[in-house]
Structure formats: structure tokens, C-alpha cells
Symmetry: C2
Subunit: 210 residues, 2 copies
Amino acid sequence: MRISELSERAGVSAASIKYYTRENLLPVGERTGYNQTEYGEGHLARLRLIRILIDAGGLSVAAAQRVLAAIDDDGLGLPSVFEAAQHAIPQRDAPASARARARIAEVVAQRGWMVHGDNPGIELAGGVLDAYSAIGRDDLATTLPRYAEAAEIVAAADLDALDASGSRAAMAETVVVGTVLGDSLLAGLRRIAQQHQTYQRYNAPRSEQS
Amino acid sequence: MRISELSERAGVSAASIKYYTRENLLPVGERTGYNQTEYGEGHLARLRLIRILIDAGGLSVAAAQRVLAAIDDDGLGLPSVFEAAQHAIPQRDAPASARARARIAEVVAQRGWMVHGDNPGIELAGGVLDAYSAIGRDDLATTLPRYAEAAEIVAAADLDALDASGSRAAMAETVVVGTVLGDSLLAGLRRIAQQHQTYQRYNAPRSEQS
């Protein structure tokens, strides 16, 4: 297809397509004549993936480029693809305190998890503990282990989805997409479950609920 | 304390403090003389809460103002405070498709959850399904129910933390803080659990892990 059709089907401007090609996010199309380039379904799929990384995941173009390179590198093991995806998602600015990191390490030990000390999740979860401490609330003792239990269920589902992906390329894409989108999926379902439980505990549901 | 001390302890500039006061996020201090205002510990705690809402939660000043008003309104039930907090967190631009909303409704029905049709979680989770569909991946059939199971565990922990908060004001603050910070806590723990499970399934942990 021509760039105009690719642009329309992907919902991405021709200028962006050219930019992604220059930045090595998207392979160049096939030159079929003077000032004419042909693109295939692979380009369309890749463009949609790029939009998910940038729009839904909030990745910079440079971060998206690194993640796509990890997907494309057949020699790279899946743990490394996971690592690339996890590190690419924007992190907090302030590092977590040593105290918060130690509390996360406790939870990790309780569940028997084996992880690297530089796992971005430690910074992320530790930063949340610091934010709670800043407002004088260190009352997560019973909450943390249950969040960890839920995280384990989700991670097992993530890894099962990975096993079911088939080819190495499909698995690598599943890792990246799942890392970027899974947090939002979980956040959405959490809001729904919260509402259900709030009604159950604090008042009867109103008639307009279904 | 004077505004300079409040500014230093909260890590918020004096200009921002004055701005938050003008925008009704922060109560005015007590006038103690010409061009002098005294602030108390309550102001400090409120300022730190404002920073969490804006920095960690990504809330606009207007959204933070609405959430704080919900906390301060003693006549407002906790389900309404939850609703205010959930609606204040920035949402996606594009609405979820009817098909995606129907799939979320199925999961909700499977778990026996009772929720409003305008729960922001439906849009959020539905949008994720749409993003998967856009890249030709509709393979969440086994993943979704397990994410929902995890969401229920987290929501139950959230509501238990609420029950343990004591006063109505403390409960309202717990709702808001938990809604804003809980997603990040869960996302962090998910990354850690993913790494553990990846190592378990795809290769033995390296020696530098602990």
C-alpha cells in the first residue's frame, strides 16, 4: 500500500510515519519508483504497536526504539525483553528511600520471589511507600502482602499469555504490550471492584446499577 | 510556623502555597500581624497530600480541588468520595468501544460485581481491550478473569484499610490516597513478580540476584 493508505489505516500522519522510519522504529518501505514507496501489513502492525507504546505507555520515541529493538533481536532472551520493557516505561524522578526499598525486599522475601536489585518495580513500589510516609501514614502492614498476592496472580497470568504466544517474535511482542497495557487493565478492574465492595460494605446499591 | 518554614518542610515553594490557598486547596493561615501569617501542622499535612495528588496522581489543580472538597465535606458518604477520587484521575481521551465495554461487563457479571455503568474503570479497562484489538490480539480470554480475581483481592485490601482508618476524615483521605497511589504500588509489585516468574520459567536466576 502507499503511504497515504498506511497513514489512514493506522491513524498516523504521513509525517509521523517518515519520522518513525528515520528513527528506526519502523522499517523502510520498498522503493517501487521515483518518489514512491510500498508498505505492507507488517508496517501497519508495527505502526499500531508504536502508537500503543507511545500513547498508552507514555514511552518517548527513544524508549520505544529500544523496546522495538529488543523485540526484533532474535538472540535476546525473554527475560531481557521483559527488562527492556520494564525499564522503558517512564519512572518517577525521585529514587525510593533505603527504608522503603527494605520494606519491599521484606515482601519479596515473604513470597519467595527472586529478583534483581535493579528491578524498576522496587523503585516504583518503594516510592509509593515513601509517599505514604510523607503524609504520616505507615499503615500498609496488612495491605502490602495482599497487593503482593494479587501481583503474583497477575504475573502468572502474564507469563501464561506469553507461553501461549507461539513464535519468539510473538512472545516478545506479548511481553512489551502486556507490560505497557497490563497496568491500566488492572487499574480499571480495581476501580470496578472497589465500587462493588464499597456498595456492599457502606450502602445498598442504587436502582440504576446493573 | 511562618510560610518560609512551611515551604521548607513541605518541599513546596511559597508561591505555590499562596496559589493553593487562592485556589481553595489549602485553608488560609491565621493572620498574626501586618504581612504575617501563621500556619499549623494541619497545613503541612494538607500540603503533602496536595503534592501526592498532583505529582504522583497526575491530577490537575482543579481536579485536586474537587477531591479535597470531597474529603472535607462531612456530609458526603464514602462511596461518593471514592467516585470523586476515581473520576479525578486523568482518563484516556478516546472512549472505549461498545464491544470492549460488553466484554468488561461479562467479566463483571462473572464475578458478581455490582457497579454503575459510568464507573471510570470500565472505560479504562475497555480502552485496553481496544488497544489489544487494534494490534490484532484478542487473546485475553484466559487473562481477563485472572486480572479480575487479582483486582478483587486488591479492592478488598483497600476497603479493609478504609475500615481501619478510624474517623470519617481519615477514611476519606485513605480513599483518595489509596486510589491515587495504589495503582503504582500494584504496578511495581507486578514488575517484581514478573521478573521472578520469568526467571523461574525461562532460565535460572543469575548469581547477583538475592
